[in-house]
């Protein structure tokens, strides 16, 4: 299965959430590949805390897609991470392989040749791994364009492809996420141009709400009037989301505000929760996203 993580704006928590989803999927026994297609700023190495590819690898995805090497550099997170917690292996856990971008790599434009190399890579990794998570640059990027063109290719068609669009729970983010998918030259338009069928493509897209404040928590507001205000705002955001076709039926799940992630983008492990550092609700949300992502009945749609 190929999973593409997109977002219209930066700072949505797209990379950190998809890293965590990939991690949870591997804990659940899946062999997972994580591909950093955020070509402008490769960060996956630092989220998995692998210092030698902190800012990118030597022969990473840039070189592969640019055509200078035949196979991109691959790191096993479980052995390479500096974080002891991530190195500990469950007996049932699957592999987690990171394909980082090049050190100091930059965004580049999409060409037929580059798309062909993407197809080649996706096809190979889809056979080797159960889930490939591809983290795309923000906005209507070249990475997104390549991904849409690659997945329209007949060689890839047999693999299930799922698109996740991340957005924060604010007015601007909701409108932007809608625009990225439904707007002119958005994901759907571009996809159709690349050869996808519009309805089928739309059925394979789900939104993920990130850092959604917990309104029912005793700490949500300091005063009753403030709480009432927040709640009313939240109701209006729901209405806005619905008008923008970002309702529950189009949403895969949501993640709560997590203090740890506000201070450091990282993988939240079960030890972080049992050590009373991270919130249990956060891990639960990641788990649910991972489960829903691979649950076909969730993707049946309407």
């Amino acid at each position: 299965m190929l999973v593409f993580a997109a977002s219209d704006k930066g700072g949505t928590g797209r990379s950190v959430t998809s890293c965590n989803i990939a991690y949870r999927l591997s804990l659940a026994g899946n062999d997972v590949a994580y591909l950093d297609f955020d070509f402008g700023s490769p960060t996956a190495g630092s989220i998995f805390e692998i210092s030698k590819i902190d800012r990118g690898a030597d022969h990473g995805l840039h070189s592969y897609i640019g055509g200078t090497i035949s196979s991109p550099h691959q790191v096993d997170v479980r052995t390479a991470s500096d974080r002891p917690g991530l190195r500990m292996l469950h007996a049932k856990a699957g592999r987690l392989a990171l394909f980082a971008g090049d050190r100091d790599g930059a965004e580049f434009s999409s060409t037929a040749e580059k798309v062909r190399r993407c197809i080649e890579l996706f096809r190979r990794l889809d056979q080797e791994f159960q889930v490939c998570v591809v983290d795309l640059s923000a906005g209507r990027s070249h990475a997104l364009h390549m991904a849409l063109n690659a997945t329209a290719a007949p060689e890839i068609r047999s693999a299930p492809v799922r698109w996740l669009v991340f957005h924060r729970w604010t007015r601007q983010h909701i409108v932007a996420a809608h625009g990225l998918v439904h707007g002119n030259d958005g994901l759907l338009d571009e996809g159709v141009r690349a050869g996808h069928e519009r309805e089928a493509l739309q059925d394979s897209i789900r939104f993920v709400r990130t850092a959604v404040p917990a309104l029912n928590s005793p700490l949500a507001a300091d005063r009753p009037a403030q709480a009432k205000w927040l709640r009313t705002c939240n109701d209006e955001l729901k209405q806005l989301a619905l008008r923008n076709r970002l309702g529950h039926s189009a949403t895969l799940g949501e993640t709560p505000v997590e203090p740890v992630l506000q201070w450091r983008e990282q993988v939240i492990s079960d030890a972080d929760v049992s050590g009373n550092i991270a919130n249990a609700a956060t891990v639960k949300a990641f788990d649910e996203l991972a489960r829903n992502l691979t649950d076909d009945s969730v993707w049946e749609g309407l």
């Binding site: 619905l242 309702g247 529950h248 039926s249 009945s297 049946e300 749609g301 309407l302």
Partner: protein, 616 residues
């Protein structure tokens, strides 16, 4: 206890799923074996609130509220929830259609064999008898289902398989609705009696509260019911057999619904031929219970919601028109006799006695139900309602809701096993069978809340709410605490039986559905704007006037260049008073509170000035 419909309903939903949805399948039945009425009640526990209270709606996956999704988690995510509802609905329709697809309205084990409530079986022929309760419950269920489908259908536009299934269920639901309406129409009856007959005597006895001569009572009764009688004679031919002598002005009469299809029921000729119109055995005499049940069902048919959503087809609209005439006349009849006479109302003369000589507080409650409904149509006045408040209070007391249960208390029987009614005519097909109505408490809850919703009198509404809350207390204590039905009804032991004992731990859908109806009524009562009186507005105006004047004085004394806290304080006071003026008419008491806050702050300034002036 404060009635919190949304919270209570979500609690009930969780409990319903815990017992009815196991391993992904819906399980029918509870304390009573599954039958067409009980299963409709079970399904309505979910569907009724979901289609009447907007923020509990389940028909659009995207707008299901967060807490509702959490409560219904066992059914799946928000896309799955409406799909399961549709499946269960389809299952219900299948279960209660015979091999030819003909809808079935039988009472099953709700038909009691003996007055004591033991459920030894009736004959097969009796079990196949249609019951008015099933018609009415089906009307409510089908309307709720059609409303649900109406919204859900466009949602599944793109899934052809699902769309086909929904369309299929919609058409069979429509068929069931038509059949139920047809049944209701055919079980409407008019009964006449000579004043000297036992039933005539009973009716006169009930009406003659002033103790005047019988001749005068008959005369006055004839006058006040002349319009009803004339319309029954002229406009209503169906259900009023030719043997009913309405032309004879000397006869007393009553109209309403029998317990099933009457033995003299005529055929209805304006519906399509594929609906079976079986002949019945029910005695052509209105039963108060079935009359109120039928009125309630028809009420749903005539509701603005049904009209707005355009739920009825051409055939159903014709049936609804015919039912509306009967609904109207029956309302008018019972509301007139309830308030008959100059002095004390027959309704105030508790307990009510029916024409077959049976007496019960429950019958008084049923008659007051009709009166409350009449208030909706504004034929009864607010003064009538205020007067009826006493009746509700008295019924709550006599029904041991606001008073304690005494030793060997006969009132306990009102709640359990309930009021027994002989289904006259059924003995032609086997042993005598009975119907038992055990919904005194939930019915009282629903009616007092309905009355409270309509009341324009602050004191009357307050008294009604006190009764409603006491009834909710009573009902909350009757919830099952453990076993498969935990959180549902009914465990009467703690409240009604001081001697102790143990209750059936399975849920009674009969009672649970009726509690749900009460809670739905509470929700619609709360949606009204708060009551206000001219006195409240006057009071707020007086306060505002003083506050405004004092504020003007302060501003007059203030330094025009002042930017200190004093200036901020005065601006705040001004804003408070502006807000108070704005809400003066809708919420006079809130306006008073704001005015008082302003007055208090203004007084602080005055005290400060006086204190400072002292030293000069």
């Amino acid at each position: 206890m404060r009635i919190q419909p949304r919270q209570h309903i979500l609690d009930i939903w969780r409990a319903v799923l815990a017992t009815s949805y196991q391993d992904g399948t819906w399980v029918w039945g509870g304390r009573d074996e599954s039958n067409s009425i009980s299963d409709a009640e079970q399904l309505l526990c979910i569907l009724y609130p979901a289609t009447t209270i907007e923020n509990l709606a389940l028909d659009r996956p995207d707008t299901i509220a967060d807490d509702v999704r959490t409560a219904l988690k066992p059914l799946g995510d928000s896309n799955r929830i409406p799909r399961v509802i549709i499946d269960v609905l389809g299952d219900y329709i299948d279960r209660y259609s015979d091999e030819n697809g003909e809808p079935v309205f039988t009472g099953g084990c709700y038909l009691r064999r003996e007055a004591s409530g033991t459920q030894s079986p009736a004959t097969a022929e009796q079990l196949e008898l249609d019951i008015v309760d099933a018609y009415s419950m089906s009307v409510t269920l089908c309307l709720a289902a059609l409303g649900f489908i109406n919204v859900y259908k466009p949602v599944v536009q793109r899934r052809s398989e699902l769309r086909r299934k929904v369309a299929e269920i919609e058409s069979s639901t429509n068929r069931r609705l038509t059949a139920a309406m047809l049944g209701l129409l055919r079980s409407f009856v008019v009964n006449t009696a000579e004043p000297e007959d036992p039933s005539g005597r009973a009716m006169l006895h009930m009406m003659n509260t002033a103790g005047v001569s019988e001749r005068i009572v008959i005369q006055e009764l004839r006058n006040s019911l002349s319009r009803v009688r004339a319309r029954l004679r002229d406009d209503v031919r169906i259900g009023v057999g030719s043997d009913v002598a309405l032309d004879n002005d000397n006869l007393l009469f009553e109209c309403g619904w029998a317990w099933g299809i009457a033995d003299n029921a005529a055929r209805i000729d304006f519906v399509s031929e594929d609906f079976q119109q079986r002949s019945g055995v029910a005695e052509a005499r209105p039963y108060l219970y079935f009359t109120v049940v039928a009125l309630d069902g028809i009420n749903d048919l005539l509701s603005p919601r049904t009209r707005e959503l355009g739920l009825l087809n051409e055939e159903q609209r014709r049936l609804a028109e015919a039912l509306q005439i009967r609904w109207d006349l029956t309302q008018r009849y019972w509301s007139t006799v309830a308030r008959f006479g100059g002095q004390a109302w027959p309704l105030e003369n508790i307990p009510w006695q029916t024409s077959d000589g049976k007496e019960s507080d429950y019958y008084s409650l049923l008659v007051s139900s009709v009166l409350v409904q009449d208030l909706v149509n504004r034929r009864a006045t607010d003064d009538d309602l205020t007067r009826a408040v006493w009746v509700f209070e008295e019924l709550a007391r006599r029904g041991r809701i606001t008073s304690r249960v005494t030793k060997n208390d006969p009132a306990v029987a009102l709640h359990t096993p309930g009021v027994q009614m002989t289904l006259n005519g059924s003995e032609q097909l086997g042993p005598q069978i009975y119907w038992s109505a055990a919904d005194f408490a939930p019915l009282l809850l629903k009616r007092t809340l309905q009355a409270a919703k309509l009341s324009a009198n602050v004191t009357a509404r307050d008294r009604l709410m006190v009764v409603a809350e006491a009834t909710m207390d009573h009902l909350a204590r009757r919830r099952l605490r453990e076993g498969p039905g935990a959180g549902l009804w009914d465990d009467p032991v703690e409240v009604l039986f001081s001697a102790g004992g143990s209750a059936d731990s399975r849920p009674s859908w009969y009672l649970t559905e009726r509690v749900i109806e009460g809670l739905v009524t509470a929700a619609s009562t709360y949606e009204e704007t708060p009551l206000r009186t001219t006195h409240m507005v006057d009071n707020a105006l007086e306060l505002l006037s003083e506050a405004d004047h004092l504020l003007n004085q302060e501003i007059l004394q203030a330094d025009a260049n002042d930017r200190s806290e004093l200036n901020t304080g005065l601006l705040e006071i001004e804003a408070t008073l502006t807000r108070a003026r704005k809400i003066l008419n809708e919420r006079p008491s809130s306006a008073s509170a704001l005015a008082m806050e302003a007055l208090r702050k203004l007084d602080e300034l005055t005290v400060a000035r006086i204190d400072a002036a002292r030293s000069i």
